[in-house]
Symmetry: C2
Subunit: 409 residues, 2 copies
């Protein structure tokens, strides 16, 4: 694999034009869009319009005239196609963690008598932590947290919910959503898929897989800005039955009647809680503009090929330098990030960042690289691999400034 081969792949890439939608700093190869997506070109102008015209000039009337009230469902509808759902099945609201909480509680209410939730040890911590918090409210729930290869065997007729991250935040391993959903349904359990590292990274087909619930993140591959609102999916067949434990007034059937008794709205709006940040939702909506005409199959293909090229180039350029591939080799079993383990991983990542290759480090030893299909070029993957080789070959990471550990990397 030569740089010319990569340039040829870029020239033939049907998503190559997407990079122009983003304001990327010069001199940087940004491989951390799986943690914080870069700034879409559309955002600053849209924010100025929301702030100066809608908020500043039209004030309170904007809830109607600029349809602020409809924003959570409208923005959710724009995400739906990317996750294989119908437009009325996705709501942009709150955060991943809070949406997980809502849907765990909803699942327990739909499976009375069952008190077991199954998940994977080493799942993204917030998924596990939200279950643990619930233990303080519902003492008799059982959290059956097992190793990845024991998940299927952990399913039995006491299980209310199977909660899995579709793509693992560290190892990039991808579950077969259809198989696991069928396995859960076979014992009468529901499924909740965390799509934080999948949405905008790989092809998703929630309805084709028969999924019940899902949540996802707005600030990773979707590029909705730091701490962007999350989203949730409730399959249409469950929307009449699902209950929201965080039953705030905007989920009420008639919020502006200001009644003392809660009555859930018909449809997905009942999963809302409180007034959403219109500025944050508007930023996410502007970011979704870049995804408007993108074919999910092209996303899947680009992510897979980028990962293949990066793995091949690193393994060639860095042979003998102590790196170990920490993600599946087959693209169909991976998400859109690639990780390598190295005992000096933290310092190596700091040295990479100092040379303009921005990935991140995940303890204890992982160098993680997000290969975002809209913004990463094949030549970027190639160049990043060779910067890594330079750093490893010359041990530049042995300099003292790379040893200081910051809170967030």
């Amino acid at each position: 694999m030569t740089r010319e081969d990569c340039a040829a792949l870029d020239a033939a890439d049907p998503l190559a034009h997407c990079r122009a939608h983003f304001l990327l700093p010069d001199g940087v190869i940004y491989l951390d869009g799986n943690s914080l997506g870069p700034l879409p070109r559309e955002v600053p102008g849209r924010l100025d319009e929301i702030v100066r015209t809608q908020w500043g000039r039209d004030l309170i009337s904007s809830w109607n005239t600029h349809d602020w009230i409809g924003a959570p469902l409208r923005v959710g509808g724009k995400i739906a196609r990317l996750v294989g759902a119908a437009v009325n099945e996705v709501l942009a609201a709150d955060t991943v963690s809070i949406n997980i909480f809502k849907l765990i509680c909803a699942a327990l209410a739909m499976r009375p008598g069952r008190r077991v939730i199954v998940s994977e040890s080493g799942n993204f911590p917030t998924d596990l932590y939200m279950m643990q918090g619930l233990r303080g409210l519902i003492p008799d729930i059982e959290l059956r947290i097992v190793a990845r290869d024991e998940v299927t065997a952990a399913l039995d007729d006491t299980v209310a919910l199977l909660l899995l991250s579709h793509v693992h935040y560290k190892t990039s391993e991808r579950w077969n959503m259809t198989e696991l959903t069928h396995a859960a349904h076979a014992v009468g359990a529901l499924t909740l898929w965390d799509l934080s590292h999948s949405t905008g990274a790989v092809r998703l087909a929630l309805n084709a897989a028969g999924a019940d619930f899902a949540v996802g993140c707005g600030y990773k591959f979707l590029n909705g800005g730091p701490g962007a609102p999350g989203f949730l999916f409730v399959a249409a067949r469950h929307q009449g039955e699902v209950q929201n434990p965080l039953s705030g007034w905007l989920g009420h059937a008639a919020p502006f009647d200001f009644k003392d008794e809660y009555q859930p709205a018909p449809g997905l709006r009942r999963m809302m809680c409180s007034s959403p940040s219109i500025i944050a939702l508007g930023t996410l909506e502007a970011a979704l503009q870049a995804w408007q005409d993108i074919d999910p199959t092209a996303i899947e293909h680009k992510s897979g090929r980028l990962g293949d090229v990066f793995i091949a180039t690193v393994e060639e350029a860095c042979a003998g330098y102590g790196l170990t591939l920490a993600v599946p080799r087959e693209a169909s079993r991976r998400g859109a990030h690639v990780a390598f383990a190295h005992q000096d991983g933290y310092r190596i990542m700091q040295a990479l960042i100092s040379r303009g290759v921005i990935g991140d480090f995940r303890a204890p030893d992982l160098l993680r690289f997000g290969l975002a299909p809209l913004t990463t070029r094949f030549v970027d993957a190639f160049d990043a691999a060779w910067v890594l080789a330079y750093i490893l070959g010359n041990r530049t990471y042995d300099q003292p400034q790379f040893a200081v550990r910051a809170l967030v990397t």
Copy 2:
């Protein structure tokens, strides 16, 4: 009371300069800052810096270099003085409803064996709805929702929590926080004050009153933008004991260790859940600039005098037109909004808005006017009263276009 009297009050007003901090549209008297505060002049520039420089240029490193990670406590600290709390007792996070949920659960855990929550019928709906949602998780809780004058009598040694809105969203009635807190403590109960209609409206003294918990709103008098983050207060003495049921990863003692088991952070950070919207928090932080040097006593005084002037002028100008004052006459028992009842209230408010006086309508019959101490002039209160008199005297609200009910008013 003449317009000249009002102009003289404005000339002597120590807060008169604050209005220059805001971008208010021409030709409008905006009396709905209790629903959505107007746009602070500081916001557009700050947002541009957050978006283009912090997000766009500095990308993921901004969590450290621009202290995004510290934003919830930093912004909370800037609210603390306005509510009579210490800087390490206030956290800007999530929403009012979600913070209510956290603190109800926290209170129940701190009062094992007690399962009663007392609140007021007709309280702001979300306060009641969040309790009702909890009933689905903890079936044995008792919601003792009683009339305002029965609240004190409803307190007994089965009560875990007294949850009240300090200023009522409709009637503007203000609880004596010290008295009610003492009454709750006398039976061993905790208190949770909803300060949504109080913060930035009246003088608040949470610690002087001995309050345990509080929540408040960022988008009303604080002017933090549509759907701005809310805040919560936990008295320092409870911070070692309080548990967050929404135990997301940013409330963890060491979130970047990515452990499977939740360990709460020491101090108030444990009340966080997930990554906050930095854009929404940054907007709120920019809005707080206008409050930086404001004496809470001046807020209390200005709100009270504005309400007195507005009530007196309406009662003089609109005598015989069927209006009934629907808030306490004594300023010390009111918040910063004034309401009048009228059987044709909805159409009258539409007619007012069409003439540039923007208040809001609350079913069944209330005309509600927010008199925000930083932006409302005494002449605005005077002029609004006389526009109301014109509309009532000439029955201009009888025109058909004012009869159409929008979702949000």
